[in-house]
Protein backbone atom coordinates (compact mmCIF):
# COMPACT_ATOMS: atom_id res chain seq x y z
CA UNK A 1 0.00 0.00 0.00
CA UNK A 2 1.33 3.31 -0.98
CA UNK A 3 1.99 5.60 1.90
CA UNK A 4 2.40 9.31 1.65
CA UNK A 5 4.18 11.72 3.90
CA UNK A 6 3.02 15.28 3.86
CA UNK A 7 4.44 18.22 5.66
CA UNK A 8 2.17 21.23 5.78
CA UNK A 9 2.34 23.91 8.45
CA UNK A 10 -0.66 23.70 10.70
CA UNK A 11 -0.95 27.44 11.07
CA UNK A 12 0.01 30.25 8.84
CA UNK A 13 -0.65 33.93 8.51
CA UNK A 14 -2.82 35.18 5.78
CA UNK A 15 -0.82 35.77 2.68
CA UNK A 16 2.15 33.91 3.97
CA UNK A 17 4.09 31.74 1.61
CA UNK A 18 4.23 28.26 2.99
CA UNK A 19 6.29 25.32 1.92
CA UNK A 20 4.68 21.97 1.35
CA UNK A 21 6.67 18.79 1.26
CA UNK A 22 5.30 15.56 -0.07
CA UNK A 23 6.77 12.13 -0.36
CA UNK A 24 5.03 9.13 -1.85
CA UNK A 25 6.44 5.69 -1.52
CA UNK A 26 6.66 4.15 -4.92
CA UNK A 27 9.17 1.98 -6.70
CA UNK A 28 9.17 4.14 -9.82
CA UNK A 29 10.29 1.43 -12.17
CA UNK A 30 11.79 3.12 -15.16
CA UNK A 31 10.90 0.57 -17.80
CA UNK A 32 14.45 0.41 -19.05
CA UNK A 33 15.60 -2.48 -16.97
CA UNK A 34 15.23 -6.11 -17.90
CA UNK A 35 15.52 -9.42 -16.20
CA UNK A 36 18.20 -12.02 -16.65
CA UNK A 37 16.01 -13.68 -19.23
CA UNK A 38 15.92 -10.51 -21.23
CA UNK A 39 12.39 -9.61 -20.41
CA UNK A 40 11.90 -5.92 -20.04
CA UNK A 41 10.42 -4.88 -16.77
CA UNK A 42 7.40 -2.76 -17.58
CA UNK A 43 7.34 0.80 -16.55
CA UNK A 44 5.63 1.59 -13.32
CA UNK A 45 5.93 5.18 -12.29
CA UNK A 46 3.85 7.97 -10.95
CA UNK A 47 2.96 10.15 -13.86
CA UNK A 48 0.99 12.92 -12.30
CA UNK A 49 0.84 14.79 -9.05
CA UNK A 50 -1.71 17.40 -8.15
CA UNK A 51 -2.28 19.57 -5.15
CA UNK A 52 -5.53 21.36 -4.55
CA UNK A 53 -6.16 24.05 -2.01
CA UNK A 54 -9.84 24.12 -1.19
CA UNK A 55 -10.57 22.76 -4.59
CA UNK A 56 -8.26 25.09 -6.46
CA UNK A 57 -5.25 23.62 -8.11
CA UNK A 58 -2.12 25.20 -6.72
CA UNK A 59 0.48 22.83 -8.03
CA UNK A 60 0.78 20.18 -10.65
CA UNK A 61 3.64 18.01 -11.78
CA UNK A 62 4.11 15.47 -14.49
CA UNK A 63 6.76 12.96 -13.72
CA UNK A 64 8.91 10.84 -15.98
CA UNK A 65 11.06 7.77 -15.45
CA UNK A 66 14.04 9.88 -14.48
CA UNK A 67 12.42 10.62 -11.19
CA UNK A 68 13.77 8.80 -8.26
CA UNK A 69 11.91 6.19 -6.36
CA UNK A 70 9.66 7.53 -3.66
CA UNK A 71 9.21 10.83 -5.40
CA UNK A 72 9.82 13.74 -3.15
CA UNK A 73 8.37 17.04 -4.22
CA UNK A 74 8.36 20.30 -2.40
CA UNK A 75 6.70 23.44 -3.54
CA UNK A 76 5.28 26.67 -2.25
CA UNK A 77 1.90 28.23 -2.11
CA UNK A 78 0.24 31.20 -0.51
CA UNK A 79 -1.90 30.66 2.53
CA UNK A 80 -5.09 32.45 1.66
CA UNK A 81 -7.70 30.85 3.84
CA UNK A 82 -8.20 28.02 6.23
CA UNK A 83 -9.09 24.82 4.57
CA UNK A 84 -7.85 21.56 3.27
CA UNK A 85 -5.02 20.66 1.01
CA UNK A 86 -5.64 17.63 -1.13
CA UNK A 87 -2.91 15.71 -2.81
CA UNK A 88 -3.33 13.20 -5.54
CA UNK A 89 -0.88 10.88 -7.22
CA UNK A 90 -1.73 9.02 -10.38
CA UNK A 91 0.54 6.45 -11.94
CA UNK A 92 0.85 3.46 -14.16
CA UNK A 93 -1.04 0.25 -13.61
CA UNK A 94 -3.95 2.15 -12.23
CA UNK A 95 -2.04 3.61 -9.38
CA UNK A 96 -3.90 6.32 -7.56
CA UNK A 97 -3.35 7.69 -4.11
CA UNK A 98 -4.73 10.64 -2.26
CA UNK A 99 -3.86 12.45 0.89
CA UNK A 100 -5.02 15.56 2.58
CA UNK A 101 -3.89 18.02 5.20
CA UNK A 102 -5.64 20.92 6.86
CA UNK A 103 -4.26 24.35 7.46
CA UNK A 104 -5.45 27.17 9.63
CA UNK A 105 -4.95 30.67 8.40
CA UNK A 106 -4.94 33.33 11.04
Amino acid sequence: MATALINVPAKAKRGEIIEIKTLMSHIMETGYRHTAEGVVIPRDIITSFTCRYNGNEVFRAELFPANSANPFITFFTTATESGKLEFEWIGDKGFAATASASITVE
Binding site: F64, T74, F75
Partner: protein, 328 residues
Protein backbone atom coordinates in the same frame (compact mmCIF):
# COMPACT_ATOMS: atom_id res chain seq x y z
CA UNK B 1 75.82 64.75 -34.48
CA UNK B 2 77.22 61.77 -36.13
CA UNK B 3 78.31 58.70 -34.47
CA UNK B 4 82.01 58.31 -35.11
CA UNK B 5 81.80 54.62 -34.66
CA UNK B 6 79.88 54.17 -37.90
CA UNK B 7 82.10 56.20 -40.12
CA UNK B 8 84.12 53.33 -41.56
CA UNK B 9 80.97 51.66 -42.71
CA UNK B 10 79.76 54.74 -44.46
CA UNK B 11 83.04 55.12 -46.16
CA UNK B 12 82.94 51.61 -47.37
CA UNK B 13 79.69 52.22 -49.07
CA UNK B 14 80.77 55.40 -50.77
CA UNK B 15 84.04 54.11 -52.05
CA UNK B 16 83.59 53.39 -55.72
CA UNK B 17 86.92 51.72 -55.96
CA UNK B 18 86.29 49.12 -53.41
CA UNK B 19 85.36 45.68 -54.61
CA UNK B 20 85.24 43.81 -51.44
CA UNK B 21 82.19 42.24 -49.98
CA UNK B 22 82.80 42.68 -46.35
CA UNK B 23 79.73 43.23 -44.28
CA UNK B 24 77.24 44.83 -46.63
CA UNK B 25 74.24 43.89 -44.68
CA UNK B 26 75.69 44.91 -41.40
CA UNK B 27 76.70 48.24 -42.75
CA UNK B 28 73.24 49.00 -44.01
CA UNK B 29 71.60 48.00 -40.84
CA UNK B 30 74.01 50.01 -38.83
CA UNK B 31 73.34 53.11 -40.81
CA UNK B 32 69.66 52.80 -40.37
CA UNK B 33 69.89 52.18 -36.72
CA UNK B 34 71.68 55.40 -36.07
CA UNK B 35 69.60 58.51 -36.25
CA UNK B 36 72.47 60.74 -37.15
CA UNK B 37 73.18 58.89 -40.33
CA UNK B 38 69.69 58.14 -41.26
CA UNK B 39 69.05 61.82 -41.65
CA UNK B 40 72.16 62.45 -43.71
CA UNK B 41 71.32 63.86 -47.10
CA UNK B 42 74.34 62.51 -48.90
CA UNK B 43 73.23 58.95 -48.38
CA UNK B 44 71.25 57.32 -51.11
CA UNK B 45 67.60 57.17 -50.45
CA UNK B 46 66.85 53.96 -48.75
CA UNK B 47 63.86 51.85 -48.99
CA UNK B 48 60.81 53.65 -47.81
CA UNK B 49 58.91 50.54 -47.04
CA UNK B 50 59.11 48.54 -43.97
CA UNK B 51 61.85 46.02 -43.40
CA UNK B 52 64.50 48.23 -44.81
CA UNK B 53 67.28 46.40 -43.11
CA UNK B 54 68.92 45.70 -46.43
CA UNK B 55 68.50 48.40 -48.99
CA UNK B 56 71.13 46.81 -51.12
CA UNK B 57 68.87 43.90 -51.73
CA UNK B 58 66.28 46.09 -53.31
CA UNK B 59 66.95 45.54 -56.95
CA UNK B 60 64.11 47.62 -58.20
CA UNK B 61 65.35 50.66 -56.38
CA UNK B 62 68.81 50.11 -57.77
CA UNK B 63 67.63 49.90 -61.33
CA UNK B 64 65.48 52.94 -61.09
CA UNK B 65 68.33 54.89 -59.67
CA UNK B 66 70.64 53.72 -62.41
CA UNK B 67 68.31 55.06 -65.05
CA UNK B 68 68.70 58.46 -63.52
CA UNK B 69 72.18 58.70 -65.03
CA UNK B 70 72.06 60.15 -68.46
CA UNK B 71 73.42 57.98 -71.20
CA UNK B 72 73.77 54.91 -69.10
CA UNK B 73 72.80 51.73 -70.88
CA UNK B 74 69.63 50.35 -69.46
CA UNK B 75 70.88 46.79 -69.46
CA UNK B 76 73.74 47.58 -67.17
CA UNK B 77 73.30 47.46 -63.47
CA UNK B 78 74.82 50.65 -62.39
CA UNK B 79 75.37 51.92 -58.97
CA UNK B 80 73.98 55.27 -58.02
CA UNK B 81 77.46 56.53 -57.28
CA UNK B 82 79.41 58.34 -60.01
CA UNK B 83 81.29 56.03 -62.32
CA UNK B 84 84.41 58.05 -62.87
CA UNK B 85 87.49 57.90 -60.73
CA UNK B 86 87.43 60.06 -57.70
CA UNK B 87 90.45 60.90 -55.64
CA UNK B 88 90.36 59.50 -52.18
CA UNK B 89 90.30 62.90 -50.57
CA UNK B 90 87.13 63.82 -52.38
CA UNK B 91 85.32 61.18 -50.55
CA UNK B 92 84.25 62.79 -47.33
CA UNK B 93 85.62 61.24 -44.25
CA UNK B 94 88.22 59.16 -45.99
CA UNK B 95 91.93 59.55 -46.10
CA UNK B 96 93.88 58.88 -49.25
CA UNK B 97 96.18 56.46 -47.60
CA UNK B 98 93.51 54.09 -46.54
CA UNK B 99 94.19 50.53 -47.18
CA UNK B 100 92.40 48.65 -49.90
CA UNK B 101 91.22 46.07 -47.48
CA UNK B 102 88.17 48.17 -46.69
CA UNK B 103 87.11 48.73 -50.25
CA UNK B 104 83.71 47.69 -51.31
CA UNK B 105 82.41 46.68 -54.70
CA UNK B 106 80.31 49.07 -56.64
CA UNK B 107 77.73 46.55 -57.52
CA UNK B 108 77.12 43.87 -55.08
CA UNK B 109 75.82 40.49 -55.74
CA UNK B 110 72.21 39.86 -54.96
CA UNK B 111 71.62 39.70 -51.32
CA UNK B 112 70.40 36.44 -49.93
CA UNK B 113 66.75 36.06 -49.35
CA UNK B 114 67.27 35.92 -45.66
CA UNK B 115 68.59 39.43 -45.73
CA UNK B 116 65.08 40.67 -46.22
CA UNK B 117 63.51 42.63 -48.95
CA UNK B 118 61.43 45.67 -49.00
CA UNK B 119 57.84 44.63 -48.79
CA UNK B 120 54.82 46.57 -49.63
CA UNK B 121 53.07 47.67 -46.49
CA UNK B 122 49.98 45.69 -45.80
CA UNK B 123 46.72 47.45 -45.90
CA UNK B 124 44.70 47.93 -42.83
CA UNK B 125 42.16 45.52 -44.11
CA UNK B 126 44.66 42.79 -44.46
CA UNK B 127 43.27 41.03 -41.43
CA UNK B 128 39.70 41.58 -42.37
CA UNK B 129 37.25 39.02 -43.51
CA UNK B 130 34.12 39.31 -45.51
CA UNK B 131 31.09 39.05 -43.35
CA UNK B 132 28.03 37.16 -44.51
CA UNK B 133 26.32 40.39 -45.36
CA UNK B 134 29.26 41.23 -47.62
CA UNK B 135 30.64 43.82 -45.34
CA UNK B 136 34.16 43.78 -44.19
CA UNK B 137 34.92 43.32 -40.60
CA UNK B 138 37.75 42.49 -38.39
CA UNK B 139 38.58 38.86 -38.24
CA UNK B 140 37.11 36.98 -35.35
CA UNK B 141 35.63 40.11 -34.01
CA UNK B 142 32.01 39.19 -33.77
CA UNK B 143 32.38 35.49 -33.72
CA UNK B 144 30.24 33.80 -31.19
CA UNK B 145 32.03 31.55 -28.84
CA UNK B 146 30.65 28.16 -28.30
CA UNK B 147 30.35 27.41 -24.69
CA UNK B 148 30.11 23.71 -25.01
CA UNK B 149 29.90 22.54 -28.60
CA UNK B 150 30.11 18.91 -27.60
CA UNK B 151 27.29 19.13 -25.16
CA UNK B 152 25.09 21.18 -27.46
CA UNK B 153 25.15 23.98 -25.01
CA UNK B 154 25.93 26.73 -27.45
CA UNK B 155 23.25 29.08 -26.49
CA UNK B 156 25.40 32.09 -26.27
CA UNK B 157 24.67 33.38 -29.73
CA UNK B 158 21.32 33.93 -31.24
CA UNK B 159 19.19 32.40 -28.60
CA UNK B 160 18.61 28.94 -27.40
CA UNK B 161 19.94 25.98 -29.22
CA UNK B 162 17.88 23.97 -31.57
CA UNK B 163 17.20 21.35 -29.03
CA UNK B 164 15.94 23.78 -26.52
CA UNK B 165 13.93 25.62 -29.08
CA UNK B 166 12.32 22.41 -30.12
CA UNK B 167 11.39 21.61 -26.61
CA UNK B 168 9.99 25.03 -26.18
CA UNK B 169 7.81 24.64 -29.19
CA UNK B 170 6.45 21.45 -27.80
CA UNK B 171 5.30 23.20 -24.73
CA UNK B 172 1.78 24.30 -24.53
CA UNK B 173 1.20 27.29 -22.45
CA UNK B 174 0.81 27.15 -18.79
CA UNK B 175 2.65 24.03 -17.91
CA UNK B 176 5.86 23.52 -16.14
CA UNK B 177 8.19 21.13 -17.76
CA UNK B 178 11.43 19.51 -16.92
CA UNK B 179 13.34 17.93 -19.69
CA UNK B 180 16.82 17.12 -20.60
CA UNK B 181 18.54 17.35 -23.90
CA UNK B 182 20.57 14.39 -24.84
CA UNK B 183 24.04 14.96 -25.97
CA UNK B 184 26.49 12.56 -27.47
CA UNK B 185 27.85 11.35 -24.22
CA UNK B 186 26.05 13.40 -21.79
CA UNK B 187 22.72 13.65 -20.30
CA UNK B 188 21.19 16.55 -18.71
CA UNK B 189 18.12 17.45 -16.93
CA UNK B 190 16.17 20.47 -17.86
CA UNK B 191 13.58 22.27 -15.92
CA UNK B 192 10.97 24.24 -17.65
CA UNK B 193 9.18 27.02 -16.03
CA UNK B 194 6.08 28.35 -17.49
CA UNK B 195 4.07 31.18 -16.12
CA UNK B 196 0.95 33.14 -16.62
CA UNK B 197 0.97 34.88 -19.90
CA UNK B 198 0.28 38.27 -18.47
CA UNK B 199 3.57 38.35 -16.70
CA UNK B 200 5.85 41.21 -17.31
CA UNK B 201 9.48 40.88 -18.10
CA UNK B 202 11.40 40.87 -14.95
CA UNK B 203 14.62 39.86 -13.43
CA UNK B 204 14.76 36.36 -12.23
CA UNK B 205 17.27 33.82 -11.31
CA UNK B 206 17.00 30.14 -11.78
CA UNK B 207 18.71 27.84 -9.49
CA UNK B 208 19.21 24.17 -9.67
CA UNK B 209 19.50 22.19 -6.59
CA UNK B 210 20.54 25.05 -4.47
CA UNK B 211 23.69 25.50 -6.43
CA UNK B 212 24.63 29.03 -7.10
CA UNK B 213 23.72 28.88 -10.70
CA UNK B 214 22.14 32.08 -11.65
CA UNK B 215 20.83 33.42 -14.83
CA UNK B 216 20.51 37.11 -14.79
CA UNK B 217 18.76 38.88 -17.55
CA UNK B 218 19.67 36.02 -19.71
CA UNK B 219 16.91 36.48 -22.22
CA UNK B 220 17.17 33.24 -24.06
CA UNK B 221 20.83 32.89 -24.02
CA UNK B 222 22.79 30.55 -21.95
CA UNK B 223 23.46 30.87 -18.36
CA UNK B 224 25.93 32.90 -16.52
CA UNK B 225 27.58 29.85 -15.36
CA UNK B 226 28.59 30.04 -11.82
CA UNK B 227 27.75 26.49 -11.14
CA UNK B 228 29.83 24.47 -8.88
CA UNK B 229 30.42 20.89 -9.56
CA UNK B 230 28.96 18.94 -6.78
CA UNK B 231 29.31 15.40 -5.92
CA UNK B 232 26.19 13.41 -5.49
CA UNK B 233 27.49 11.81 -2.40
CA UNK B 234 25.61 8.60 -2.08
CA UNK B 235 24.90 8.96 -5.71
CA UNK B 236 21.70 7.15 -6.10
CA UNK B 237 19.26 9.92 -5.87
CA UNK B 238 19.89 13.51 -6.07
CA UNK B 239 17.79 16.33 -4.97
CA UNK B 240 16.86 18.46 -7.85
CA UNK B 241 15.57 21.81 -7.01
CA UNK B 242 14.67 24.48 -9.40
CA UNK B 243 14.18 27.86 -7.97
CA UNK B 244 13.00 30.88 -9.75
CA UNK B 245 13.37 33.62 -7.29
CA UNK B 246 11.40 36.79 -6.92
CA UNK B 247 8.14 35.65 -8.33
CA UNK B 248 5.80 36.45 -5.54
CA UNK B 249 4.34 39.63 -6.82
CA UNK B 250 0.87 40.19 -5.45
CA UNK B 251 -0.64 40.09 -8.86
CA UNK B 252 1.08 36.85 -9.61
CA UNK B 253 2.82 38.17 -12.64
CA UNK B 254 6.07 36.84 -13.86
CA UNK B 255 5.76 33.56 -12.20
CA UNK B 256 7.12 30.51 -13.79
CA UNK B 257 4.58 27.87 -14.36
CA UNK B 258 6.36 24.95 -15.79
CA UNK B 259 9.44 23.02 -15.11
CA UNK B 260 10.64 19.97 -16.92
CA UNK B 261 13.69 17.98 -16.04
CA UNK B 262 14.93 15.49 -18.55
CA UNK B 263 17.66 12.98 -18.70
CA UNK B 264 19.17 11.15 -21.55
CA UNK B 265 17.54 7.97 -22.52
CA UNK B 266 18.41 5.04 -20.40
CA UNK B 267 20.45 7.15 -18.09
CA UNK B 268 17.70 6.68 -17.19
CA UNK B 269 15.78 9.12 -19.31
CA UNK B 270 16.22 12.51 -20.77
CA UNK B 271 13.12 13.89 -19.25
CA UNK B 272 12.65 14.41 -15.62
CA UNK B 273 9.39 16.12 -15.06
CA UNK B 274 7.18 19.08 -15.58
CA UNK B 275 6.15 21.29 -12.77
CA UNK B 276 3.48 23.88 -12.95
CA UNK B 277 3.68 26.81 -10.67
CA UNK B 278 0.50 28.83 -10.89
CA UNK B 279 0.32 32.46 -9.85
CA UNK B 280 -0.79 31.76 -6.34
CA UNK B 281 2.19 29.59 -5.65
CA UNK B 282 3.86 32.62 -4.22
CA UNK B 283 7.33 31.37 -4.83
CA UNK B 284 8.37 29.48 -7.87
CA UNK B 285 10.64 27.08 -6.16
CA UNK B 286 10.42 23.37 -6.62
CA UNK B 287 12.49 20.65 -5.15
CA UNK B 288 12.52 17.05 -6.15
CA UNK B 289 14.86 14.15 -6.66
CA UNK B 290 16.24 12.73 -9.80
CA UNK B 291 17.99 9.59 -10.94
CA UNK B 292 21.41 10.00 -12.34
CA UNK B 293 23.34 7.20 -13.96
CA UNK B 294 26.49 9.08 -14.67
CA UNK B 295 28.20 12.34 -14.14
CA UNK B 296 26.43 14.70 -16.35
CA UNK B 297 25.12 18.12 -16.89
CA UNK B 298 21.75 19.14 -15.63
CA UNK B 299 19.88 21.95 -17.25
CA UNK B 300 16.87 23.58 -15.76
CA UNK B 301 14.70 25.55 -18.11
CA UNK B 302 11.98 27.81 -16.94
CA UNK B 303 9.30 29.25 -19.11
CA UNK B 304 7.76 32.41 -17.83
CA UNK B 305 4.36 33.75 -18.54
CA UNK B 306 5.79 36.38 -20.82
CA UNK B 307 7.10 33.67 -23.08
CA UNK B 308 10.70 34.00 -22.12
CA UNK B 309 12.84 31.06 -21.22
CA UNK B 310 15.43 30.91 -18.56
CA UNK B 311 17.89 28.22 -17.94
CA UNK B 312 20.56 27.25 -15.53
CA UNK B 313 23.13 24.54 -15.88
CA UNK B 314 25.20 22.64 -13.47
CA UNK B 315 27.55 19.72 -13.60
CA UNK B 316 26.99 16.85 -11.30
CA UNK B 317 29.53 14.24 -10.44
CA UNK B 318 27.97 10.91 -9.69
CA UNK B 319 29.99 8.45 -7.74
CA UNK B 320 27.43 5.70 -7.53
CA UNK B 321 24.93 5.33 -10.30
CA UNK B 322 21.31 4.94 -9.40
CA UNK B 323 19.81 3.62 -12.56
CA UNK B 324 22.12 1.10 -14.07
CA UNK B 325 20.62 -1.60 -16.18
CA UNK B 326 21.34 -4.32 -13.75
CA UNK B 327 19.78 -7.67 -14.24
CA UNK B 328 17.20 -8.80 -11.81
Amino acid sequence: MRNPGSRPSRRKFLDKRSYRMSGPILAGALLLSMPGFAAAEDLPQLCRFRRCDSYLADRSARRSRARAFAGAPSHQHLHPLPQWPVPGREVPGRSRTESGRFRQPLVRRPAPTSAGRCLQPQSRNDHAVLLPDRRTGARRHRMARQIDPVGWADRGHGGVSRQLARIGSDLDEGLLHTTSVSGPRRQRGCAWYGAARDAATRRSHTRIDGISDQNRRGRRRGTDRKSKTRCAAAGRERQHRVDDGPSHQPDGRGRPRRQHPRLQREKPAAEHGQFLSPPRAGRAQISTRIRLADSQKIVAIAKLSDGSFWSATTDVVVTLAACTDELI
